[in-house]
């Protein structure tokens, strides 16, 4: 029951400016815009989505330096945006250029 890993490719869009937690940990919130073709029930289909993402610490600093529109592959886990929210956010642990 510990499995929670998501990998997604796309272009980074809407990078919010770097902020810090009171303890001094960097936080960057951003979105990734994904467009691809995927196989579903044996047939190819078009997929488009925009995923909210967040990165902390060093990862936040790396992403804050990325120019919007850069294509990347993100790997991380999913969590609720906040306790009362139903929206999911991808917490990025790894980024690779595509």
């Amino acid at each position: 029951m510990n499995c929670n890993q998501t990998a997604i490719c796309g272009k980074i869009v809407e990078i919010a400016s770097l902020r810090y937690t009171p303890a001094g940990v960097a936080v960057t919130e951003f979105k990734i815009s994904h467009v691809s073709r995927q196989i579903e029930a044996g047939r190819s289909r078009q997929v488009e989505c925009e995923v909210s993402a967040v990165a902390l610490g060093q990862m936040a600093e790396i992403i804050s330096r990325v120019t919007a529109g850069t294509a990347v592959k993100l790997v991380g886990f999913l969590a609720k945006k906040s306790r009362m929210s139903l929206q999911l956010v991808l917490h990025v642990n790894n980024i690779d250029p595509v």
Binding site: T21, P22, A23, V25, V54, L56, A79, K80, S82, R83
Partner: protein
């Protein structure tokens, strides 16, 4: 051998008998400090009585260790004041006496004055009566000095030095015998100077009327309520009456609610009375300064004594007038130890001395207001502002349900600030919460940083990189992640002064912004410097807590905006609306005191609330009347007299059990209502669980009588691990 009855700082309501020394101790020594053996230690106390017998068997009586002759004994009137406080507040006399003394005089060491160099020596009554023949004939310098002093009454240090090289030493010797008094400055014709100083403004008709009403009865006790709108010139009325006191060579005691108000008022007084000895007494002084000021007051050297609540216990031989400014202020009530109200003690003191007491306020407490409309206090009104063309500010509410706020600031507020900046006028943003944000919140699991010792949340102080408890002073570093769920992205939630400062600095990068709260004014003289900056118009936007709300006069301030005041509307404290109204009226009153018209903007979600509506009309009376009707219906003060029995213990059960016991043993007379014990509004403070028992009666004398008996029973009650206290006329629950 005489028996000395000594007041000691111990929680037992009794005096302690000691044997006086063989050297003569007389009635004259009542009020003198002594060192006495108490258990295994020595303690400092004050002789309250000198008797010829003791009910304690004489072998058991211990002699005193030392009698202090460093300062003159406390006057009898002051001891009477202490006795009154002990009786009225049902607090042990020894604790009352020692609470009233400046810390330096409570210590084990004799007080050595170390203030300004002594310039003049004056002969005292003792010195005048001194017999020159006790001085050996060969000691020519001593004889000559005494003769000279008896001739002229005083001698300056320069004159003395001309007489002999050894004269200064001899004078010191005289001083230790109380033959002469040391003076730090040469007495000039101070009274004459009282008239020839900064230009005296012409009184408005209302001010003149107030002065004219008070002056004819200035030599008798009356409680006056000087009810004047903000900026109506209450201070000028005080100044006129003080001038009169100076002419009559009598002392004036001026009580102000906060240390922060003393520098400004002190400056006003000094400007008007440059040659008068004025001392300010507050907890910001170092112990020697405070004791020095206290002694000047006791000797009658200081003519004006300006201070916070503790100054009400200053010995004043020539007291002629007491002024309590901003009488409604909570800080006149001490919340621990002797839980006294300096305002009420001041009224008692005025009656005891037979002098008038003036309670000044724009928003009197409902207790005072009720007494005034009933005729117990005499009410004087100053209905309009004193400065020509200065009118009361226009008060408007900004409905934040419509005008959405960003970083706590709504668009209309931002544009008003812009306008003020463009006009080169000062603005004040009032938010009564210091720190960056009141809560550190984990958005993933809703954990908030709480104080381990208090039932409170820790406040985020971003600048100091600390979480702080505003109740117990505990502080800790920011956690790197949420202790509950581990999320690192924990964030400050809500607004405090630091956050508003940050937001405004970002919004107005060129404006000169100053934050004024307890943190930024902590360093000595910091507040004084800030005041100078404001007065010198080197600040555009002030962000401040209630420190800024009271009493200040900033002529160039035209805009006041109020953030986050709604919280008080939901308080469970029945005095919350009275206080909120007073506070908002106060802070609103900072706007438009000079010639420029003022504007007040209040951000609220309830613009139609009667409290805000009354505020917009500047209508204290109608709100006060409404609140009085409510209080009467609910049987709250001033229609009832209340007392709390507080209990603190490591666990709430212990505290409640003690209170239940206390309730059980009470005689439960008629006319006295005793409620069940309940946890306090702040159920845990500094690691102790707190609860209280409310006792009330519509008759103060019956309540007092009951308390006298109950207190004795309480003293006998087993109270292991429980700390308890009586709080007469409580203000906090």
């Amino acid at each position: 051998m005489p028996i000395l009855r000594v007041a000691l700082d111990v929680p037992v309501n009794t005096l302690f008998d000691y044997l006086g020394p063989d050297t003569v101790v007389t009635e004259q020594d009542v009020g003198t400090r002594v060192r006495v053996p108490f258990g295994k230690h020595l303690m400092t106390g004050v002789i309250m009585e000198v008797a010829t017998y003791s009910s304690i068997a004489s072998p058991k009586l211990k002699p005193i260790a030392h009698i202090f002759r460093d300062v003159p004994p406390l006057p009898e009137t002051l001891l009477d004041l202490f006795r009154f406080c002990s009786a009225y507040y049902h607090h042990p006399l020894g604790e009352v006496v020692m609470n009233g003394l400046p810390g330096r005089l409570r210590s084990s060491k004799p007080f050595v004055q170390q203030y300004r160099p002594i310039l003049e020596y004056r002969l005292t009554g003792t010195g005048r009566a001194a017999d020159p023949s006790v001085i050996p004939p060969r000691n020519i310098v001593k004889r000559r000095l005494l003769a000279r002093l008896k001739e002229t009454g005083s001698i300056t240090i320069e004159e003395a030095k001309q007489l002999s090289q050894r004269a200064p030493g001899v004078l010191k010797e005289f001083a230790s015998l109380w033959w002469v008094e040391e003076r730090a400055e040469i007495e000039s014709s101070a009274i004459a100077a009282a008239n020839t100083s900064s230009p005296v403004p012409v009184l408005t008709p209302a001010q003149k009327n107030a002065v004219d009403e008070i002056v004819p009865t200035i030599k008798q006790f009356n409680t006056w309520l000087l009810h004047g709108v903000t900026g109506s010139g209450k201070t000028e009325v005080y100044l006129r009456l003080i001038t009169l006191m100076l002419h009559q060579r009598r002392q004036t005691l001026v009580l102000v609610p906060e240390i922060n108000l003393t520098p400004q008022l002190e400056a006003v007084f000094r400007a008007r009375f440059p040659a008068i000895r004025l001392i300010s007494l507050h907890s910001g002084l170092n112990p020697s300064e405070r004791a020095g000021g206290w002694l000047q007051a006791q000797r009658g050297d200081a003519q004006i004594i300006l201070g916070t609540r503790l100054a009400v216990f200053t010995p004043l031989p020539d007291l002629g007038l007491i002024i309590v400014d901003e009488e409604q202020d909570m800080s006149f009530k001490q919340q621990d130890g002797l839980r006294y109200s300096a305002r009420d003690v001041a009224i008692f003191r005025a009656r005891q001395t037979g002098v008038p007491v003036i309670l000044g306020s724009a928003t009197p407490s409902l207790e005072t207001y009720y007494n005034a409309i009933n005729g117990r206090y005499l009410r004087l009104q100053l209905p309009s502002r004193a400065v020509r063309n200065a009118t009361l500010p226009l008060v408007r509410c900004i409905d934040t349900r419509i005008a959405k706020t960003e970083e706590g600031l709504s668009p209309p507020l931002i544009s008003a600030l812009e306008t003020s900046l463009a006009l080169n006028q000062q603005s004040l943003v009032f938010i009564n919460r210091r720190g960056y944000a009141p809560v550190l919140l984990c958005r993933s699991c809703a954990w908030t940083a709480a104080c381990q010792r208090c039932a409170s949340r820790l406040v985020v102080h971003l600048r100091e990189k600390k979480l702080r408890c505003h109740h117990c002073g505990h502080q800790e570093r920011f956690p790197t992640n949420c202790p509950e769920c581990g999320d690192q992205d924990i964030a400050p939630f809500g607004h405090g002064t630091q956050r508003v400062e940050e937001a405004l600095s970002r919004r107005f990068p060129h404006a000169r912004i100053m934050r004024i709260d307890r943190d930024s004014t902590r360093r000595k003289d910091a507040w004084q410097k800030m005041l100078e900056e404001i007065q010198g118009q080197r600040v555009d936007i002030l962000i401040g807590t209630q420190i800024l709300a009271k009493g200040h006069d900033f002529p160039n301030l035209s805009l006041v905006s109020v953030l986050n005041s709604d919280a008080s509307l939901f308080s469970s404290d029945f005095r919350a609306s009275e206080r909120l109204f007073a506070q908002l009226m106060q802070v609103a009153g900072r706007a438009g005191r000079g010639g420029i018209p003022g504007q007040v903007l209040i951000q609220t979600e309830f613009p139609n609330h009667p409290l805000y509506q009354a505020l917009c009309r500047h209508d204290y009376d109608s709100l006060a009347q409404t609140l009085l009707v409510e209080r009467k219906l609910a049987r709250f003060p001033p229609f009832i007299y209340q007392v709390l029995l507080w209990a603190e213990a490591p666990s709430i059960d212990l505290a409640l059990a003690f209170l239940a016991n206390a309730e059980g043993i009470s005689a439960k007379p008629k006319h006295i209502e005793i409620f069940d014990p309940v946890p306090a509004q702040m159920p845990r403070l500094k690691g102790m669980e707190r609860a209280y028992l409310l006792v009330q009666s519509s008759s103060r004398s019956k309540l007092q009588k009951f308390l006298g008996e109950w207190r004795t029973q309480l003293d006998a009650l087993p109270d292991r691990k429980v700390r308890w206290a009586l709080d007469v006329d409580p203000l906090e629950f």
